[in-house]
């Protein structure tokens, strides 16, 4: 949609693109049974000072001897010097990452991807819809919006998961409720597969009518399983949200993060995209021109 979004983002100033910076784990805390949040800081302070990222970008976490995985950054882009990753125990590398303790060291390279074009969100209402692990990248957007509260209109965040104990950052959002109310931020947390006393029941799309923000002049950021995007899209357009201001972020098997390894490519001949450098955040025009994005 815009030049800014389509500008391919690859960090420069590194001799070897595949080399990593050493980072120390400062804190590990359990989010759910499967997810842990890790707080990292660069060992080389010079690197840490200059290391900036945008909400929606990801890093490659490398454990020599095990492998590399792409993980979205979930802390606020405004707070520099450290960053947080919310990691689900889902495979070989992430299982090993879950064994890390404070003081352990990992290799990090990045940040990669285009990230959300936050400047385009300024002056508008913001609707964030997260399903499952989608809360991790959207937390980065949410915290950024809170840190820059004056730049945004009303904000609504919908956080959904299958079960109560899988709801990411649920306690954190709950604790924010008072501040949120004072700052005109609406928090909706919903659980799809069980009745929970404190939560709403049903999919995120079923609670769109409770969203307080005005659809006109709103930006929407979606993150969740690909299955969710199609239905959300239809629903949002039906509710008069401008489709051109709906952004999604995609997940792929990114091995390199810099548009070389080919695992994340998608689309067809007129719109051939690498999710790692052209994305992972895509807008309406990318979606309609690139088949396979919402599958």
């Amino acid at each position: 949609m815009t030049e800014e979004l389509h500008r391919r983002y690859i960090p420069d100033g590194q001799d070897n693109l595949y080399d990593t910076h050493k980072c120390r784990v400062l804190r590990v805390y359990k989010q759910t049974e499967m997810d842990k949040v890790f707080l990292f800081r660069f060992i080389d302070q010079e690197v840490g000072k200059n290391w900036k990222f945008k909400p929606g970008q990801f890093v490659e976490v490398s454990l020599p001897g095990i492998g590399e995985v792409p993980i979205s950054i979930c802390s606020s882009a405004m707070r520099i010097g450290f960053f947080q990753l919310c990691i689900r125990k889902a495979g070989r590398v992430t299982t090993k990452i879950h064994e890390l303790k404070p003081g352990d060291i990992v290799g990090i390279r990045g940040p990669y991807g285009n990230g959300f074009p936050m400047e385009k969100f300024f002056g508008r209402n913001l609707l964030l819809v997260a399903a499952g692990l989608g809360m991790a990248p959207l937390r980065s957007v949410f915290l950024y919006a809170i840190d820059n509260r004056w730049r945004f209109g009303d904000i609504t965040i919908i956080n959904s998961a299958k079960y109560e104990n899988e709801l990411l950052f649920a306690r954190e959002l709950e604790a924010m409720r008072d501040i949120a109310e004072a700052e005109n931020i609406q928090i909706i947390q919903t659980v799809t597969r069980e009745d929970s006393p404190n939560r709403l029941k049903g999919r995120a799309s079923e609670h769109l009518d409770k969203v307080m923000i005005e659809p006109k002049n709103s930006t929407v950021a979606l993150c969740g399983p690909p299955r969710m995007y199609k239905s959300m899209f239809e629903k949002l357009v039906e509710m008069n949200y401008d489709p051109r201001r709906i952004f999604v972020t995609l997940e792929r098997r990114m091995k390199c993060g810099i548009g070389k390894c080919g695992h994340c490519n998608l689309g067809n001949s007129t719109s051939w995209k690498y999710a790692c450098i052209d994305g992972p955040v895509f807008d309406y025009y990318d979606i309609i021109s690139t088949p396979g994005m919402l599958e």
Binding site: D15, P64, G65, G67, A90, R253, C256
Partner: protein, 344 residues
């Protein structure tokens, strides 16, 4: 601009001279039906085949090897050490590369050098020497419709066949240096040689089974995205072996793997060619697969190969015919594209 002529009987001397510039690789017959680029020692110079149809493995493997150590690591210290081999190895002198493969290498460059250069690929590619050779098509070739039957750059020397020898076109400074140091091998190019070149081109263009330009194939493919027959019928035959992508001169997917040593501390991080025809290619954590069926993976290759390479302004497919020639299931890529085009 510089042209010299190499007589046929002096080709052996020429090959021997090339060995001063690095490790010489040239096509030789490796089995009854197949050719491959192999390392040529002084004794093997006679075995070099000048009129081969296509090599088993594409030339990209000299710059982007099948298996390459990127780093050695120490997992206790969490440190990685760059593998210097690509930067210190002998340059590769690749003799006898067809025009389509030279275009293929330029397509590889567009991904590995133009946009954030890959250090290993670039180091090998920059010191490598490419010596092209003219060729005549067989029934699998369709480089003409891919605009890859002729190249103007991407080579150091290009040998075009004439009646009693080869007219060598110099394409780079490195090429000039080679010609300068072996000047006694060559003779002047005559008017007859120039006429021979034209005759060769006319003969070549008549040998292709297809004609025209297939740039618009991208449109046709997209319009036939839901083709009722072809995708299902052809992917049913597919074994999913990945032979088409391994032999392809422009496929560049790779996987990165860590191999620890037995001491439990050190090891190597390796990149290995991957193929979009494998089930794991589109698999992500949690078990979701973006290309779950053989049909979707099959279609992905057709889309990728016909996508537009902005830097080279051709399709990613150069029409070398390898994917058909080496397919164990006998899937005919060219015929399928013709069918999608409506039989033309």
């Amino acid at each position: 601009m510089r042209y010299v002529k190499l007589k046929k009987e002096r080709i052996k001397e020429f090959l021997l001279a090339l060995q001063d510039y690095g490790e010489l690789y040239a096509p030789i017959k490796v089995s009854e039906k197949y050719f491959d680029f192999r390392k040529i020692t002084n004794e093997q110079v006679d075995e070099v085949v000048l009129d081969y149809n296509r090599t088993l493995r594409p030339p990209r493997r000299f710059f982007f090897p099948e298996k390459e150590v990127l780093f050695t690591f120490n997992s206790k210290k969490v440190e990685m050490y760059e593998n210097k081999e690509a930067f210190t190895s002998e340059p590769v002198v690749l003799f006898g590369v067809h025009a389509c493969d030279i275009v293929g290498l330029r397509i590889m460059d567009s991904r590995f050098i133009d946009d954030q250069p890959d250090p290993y690929y670039r180091a090998r590619r920059e010191k490598g020497i490419i010596i092209g050779i003219s060729c005549l098509p067989d029934e699998y070739c369709f480089c003409n419709v891919r605009r890859a039957e002729f190249v103007d750059s991407g080579f150091d020397l290009f040998l075009s066949e004439v009646e009693d020898g080869y007219v060598i076109r110099v394409g780079s400074v490195k090429g000039h240096k080679i010609i300068d140091s072996t000047e006694n091998l060559y003779v002047e190019v005559t008017k007859k040689d120039s006429d021979d070149l034209t005759a060769f081109d006319v003969k070549k263009s008549k040998m292709f089974t297809v004609s025209g330009n297939w740039d618009s194939l991208r449109y046709t493919l997209e319009l036939n995205d839901e083709h009722p027959v072809i995708w299902m019928r052809e992917s049913e035959k597919c074994l999913g072996c990945g032979n088409c992508t391994i032999t392809c001169p422009t496929c560049r997917c790779y996987d990165v793997k860590d191999y620890p040593n037995l001491d439990g501390e050190t090891g190597v991080r390796v990149r290995i060619w991957d193929s979009c025809q494998f089930r794991e290619h589109g698999l992500v954590a949690g078990g979701h697969n973006f290309r779950p069926t053989k049909e979707s993976r099959f279609k992905n290759r057709y889309m990728c190969k016909n996508a537009y390479c902005k830097e080279v302004t051709t399709a990613y497919c150069v029409g070398c015919g390898r994917c058909t020639y080496f397919c164990p299931a006998g899937i005919n890529y060219k015929e399928n594209l013709i069918e999608i085009r409506g039989g033309i």
